[in-house]
Structures are given as C-alpha cells and as structure tokens.
Symmetry: C2
Subunit: 335 residues, 2 copies
Amino acid sequence: MPDFSIGVDLGGTNLRIGAVTPDGKLLEKISVSTKISLGADHVVNEMCDAILRLTSQYKNGRKLLGAGIGIPGMVDLENGTVCKSANLPGWSDYPVRQEIERRLGAPIILENDANVHAVGEKWLGAARDVDNMAMFTLGTGIGGCIILDGKIFHGMTGMAGEFGHVTIEPEGVPCGCGNRGCAERYASASAVVRMVREMIDCGQAPELAKAASADPEFSAKSVYNLAMQGDPAAREIFHRFGRALGILLAGMVNVLNLEMYVIGGGVASAWDAFAPTMFQEMRERSPIYFSSDPENPKNKQGTKSRKPRLTVVTRAVLGSDAGLYGGARLTHFPA
Amino acid sequence: MPDFSIGVDLGGTNLRIGAVTPDGKLLEKISVSTKISLGADHVVNEMCDAILRLTSQYKNGRKLLGAGIGIPGMVDLENGTVCKSANLPGWSDYPVRQEIERRLGAPIILENDANVHAVGEKWLGAARDVDNMAMFTLGTGIGGCIILDGKIFHGMTGMAGEFGHVTIEPEGVPCGCGNRGCAERYASASAVVRMVREMIDCGQAPELAKAASADPEFSAKSVYNLAMQGDPAAREIFHRFGRALGILLAGMVNVLNLEMYVIGGGVASAWDAFAPTMFQEMRERSPIYFSSDPENPKNKQGTKSRKPRLTVVTRAVLGSDAGLYGGARLTHFPA
C-alpha cells in the first residue's frame, strides 16, 4: 500500500479534495460546498473535516505525506498565512497553515491556486516533459505561474506571474486593480460577459441578446457555443479575446523565452474559438515565437548538429483535477 | 600583482576594451574604431590586436584569466558563434570564440551586449546588493537582461529579456521586427528622433525645428536639453517616452516581481525628463509596484517581524564602462 498526499483546491463555492499517491494516481476525490466569504475559521473547519474523512479511508498502513492547498489569493509562504485580499475577508490574521497542521498532524503547504494548477500540469499534464514553462489560468480573471527548472518562480514577494494585469491596451477598459486595459479585461470569463453586454447594449448582437434573455444560466460557455455555430457577434468576441491573449503571450515569449506556455482554466474550453486569432497575433508580434513556431515547416527541420528548439503553446490537459494533483505534488518537496 | 581579465564592448563604430582585476579595478581601457559591418574576420583581427597590445603591458607576472566579449546581436552560447543577425552580416558562419581563443590562448566568453552591461551593473554598479534584477539598456533600441540568483537568465535559446519588442500600443508604430507598437518604438534614441520628425512635420515643434536645422549633430541629447529648458514639444516627447517605459516596466514588475530594475544605456541620461512620467505610470498600472514603491511612506515602515520588501527602479551607475566590467566578470564563472 503506497503512501499518499492530499491536494486541496479552494474555490469560491466548492472545496475540492483529492488523495493522490506519490506516483500520481488519484485514489479518490470529493467536493464539498463552502463559502470562502464566511472567513478562515469556517473554511478551515470544513476543510479539515473533509480531509480527515477522506484520509481515514486510506490510513490503514499508509502514511499521509501532507497536504498542499491552493488558495485563491496571495499567500505569505514564509508564515503560511493569506495576505490581505478582497476575495478572502478576515483571512489575513488567521494562522491557516499552523491551524491545519495542528489538526491533521501532517505538513501543510499553502500556495496560490494558479501556481498549484501549474505544478499539476508540470507533474502529470501538458508540461510533464519540460522544466521551464508558464501557465495562464483563464477563469473569472487570468491566473498565472512561471515554472523555472521545475520549480515555481515566486519572485520577491510571491507575486511573479501576474499575467492578468499586464497592460495590453494603454487606454483600455478600467480594471479593479487600478490600471486600464489589463489583459484579463479582454481574455477571461468576465471579459466575455462584459463584451456581450456591451454588444447587446449597442444592438450589435441580436442572437446573443435572444440567448441571454432566454437562458438564465447564460455564460461565457453559451457565447462559445454560439461562436462555434457561426454567430458573427459571438465570433467577434472570441476574436478580441484571442487577440488580447496573443498580445500578452507574444510579450511573454519575448521576455521569458520558455519552452512551453500552457493555457488552462475553465475558459480554455473555448480554445477552438480564440486560439486561431491568438496564434496569428503571436506570429505577427513575436519574432522569437515566429522563429520557433512548431507549425512553421521551416522550424521543424534542424541540422545534424542542432535540433530545432520549439516554443509550444498548448491547452492544459488535467482540467479541474490539476489543482488536486498539484497540491499533492507540493508535499513531495518540503521547504 | 593580481591577475586580470579583459572585457570587450563591441559597438557599431567603436571597440572598447578594458583590463580589469578580479576585485573590480579597471587597470586601463582603450577604444579603437572598427566597423562591424566589415565582417567577423576584420573585427576579430582588430579585437585580437588591441587585446594583445593591452595585455602585453600587464602580463609581467600576472595571469590573463580570459576575455568576455559583448556582441550587439544574438549569441549561440554553446557554439561560441553569432546567430544570423541583420546588424552582423557574414558573422553567422564564423567560429568567433574558437578563433579568438586560438589567438589569445585564454578562455573567451561571447555574450549579448545588453547581458554584459547587466552583469557589470550587478557586479559593481546599481545592482551590486541584489541577486534578482532586470536591466533595460536604452540606446538605438532597448536591450534587456534578466538576472536571477546572480546569474543571467537566458531562457530556452538565449533570447529572454527582449523587453524592447513587448507590445505596448497594439495598433502603434510599425517596428522592424514585424510587430506594431513595440516598446522601443517609443522609449529609445530612435524613438525620440522619430517623434521629433513627426512633430516638426506637423508644425507642432518650432523650437525643435529651429534646433534641428541649426545643429548638424542634432540628436536625442539635444531634445533632452530643450526639454530641460522647458520647450513644450520636447517635454511632450519625453512624456510619451516615460509613459511607454512606465507601461513596459509596470508589466515586467507584475510578471517578474524582482528586487530591482536598472535603466541604463545612453538615453538613460535623459532620466530627469522621462522618469517622473515613468514612475507615475508604474504606480497607476502595477499594484505590485504601488505596494512596494520606496517613495510611498506606507511602504517604509514594516513591522518588527516583517521588513518591507521594496521594488527599486533606478539608473545604472557605470555608464559605458558597464560592458568592460561585465565582460571581465564573465571570465570568473567559466562554463
């Protein structure tokens, strides 16, 4: 019986927990509803109860190596606390790691959720064969992570990889961060919803207006479906989305020159609608990408002495399990 | 008598060479004119002759540790050659490192010139007390380098740190790289000259027009002088310059979260004209910068348990000697 680790993905409404073996087998996953807005005390209780329920099934003869927890906010890695965050009211003074360690009796690692997803994709997903990659998690906003030499690159204060707030339109749409024209105002679920609303308000999107009023669960996914059915307004929205993401990625290829860029998160499912424009922008805007684009036949040949080095931009493959695998993986490298 | 290294800075018209001790004393520097357009054979001859002249004076009892050479183009680090480059016609098939090593009998390191400048500033200049920094070398274009844990971060193919071609105006001025709105089209010597020409053509810059026609050596420096004398058109040009650089830097702070960003190169002398706008943009566009801005009194305090972590953006201090120190420093870490 192998030992196991716990990976936890803490979302706004659901807490997902998985038990994972050291060689990457997901033994079981569970999902419990919680409200992070109710504060750290509440969520830590729910989390510990759920982890204990799950681990009690697997404890016979196995060792719990620890738990890695993805937090939707900025984490103080040194102290194992959550930094002040609008998403996590009341968390900043709570000793999250210490409290969970006390209750579980195993080492706990807190990490930003986008970083945890990237660690999952690096371990068992799209980036399993590369050591240097960046991940763009497209959800309500854009989460980001840079992995260098197989390890998360945190930067000075754990904030490295904040791709979502890179300016791509200097006079563009205002962002909650105080800037204008941030990438995530154009290439995220909330950006899709904003563009839909604006196009409907201007009378430019009759099909979208019809769909939005008929469907109480109208979302970015509905816009994707319409785009794939050929609706011009929905297609235009994903064209803008792809353009923004392409501008962002072209810049990151120029700055980071990594082997791989992985696009994940819920909105990555709209890949077919935005990726063609994204790749077109990258080819036009980054000579480094152009000269290492795997789709360019010139770059495939190479010579006897020199293998071509390609820049791969690809979809994540683990879906929402990336956070469970990534969290478990963090326990294999105790600080 | 201490040992010494040679640092070489290869420019378009001048070849600058310095002899530097292991503890960073510049024993002597010389400058010889050369034309890199005449090809590798010609330049390598001039370079070896000049290095041999310089080293012959210092060889009594001292050991030449090697030479580090900054090349204005992309370098194939593994093979010690220059990659195909518009600036360096005929260089790509020439075994530059091998030929110089043969003639000098000492280890040679080729490196991109912007990287060499950054190594100099890291060793003895503005960044001597930090291990993680990026340098922006403002000249005809924008050269860039990222240093992590005290070492150049090359990326997959040595192209990391190409800050000059990050898009900051998606529909902006076309760039030779094929993109539009690259940062270096707004924040470099050639950008200043372009903006002057455009403003003169529109009749918006009477003082600049007068100065440009009276002075055969009219340059970005002349525009800086006029800006500091209060000329509105010249001030507007450096306002646009600072805005572009601020947008670029804000993005890089969000992505890299480094301790220090050093602005060097000839056009950094115009600091007083562009820096106020640059800092303003950074504060407005990067919450990470805002929350670690050394000028913000809130960020200076810290608590007993937590020292404030500041993001420093500052001028380079070594001027044109950065390349000599940096080149010499490269010889201390043989591959």
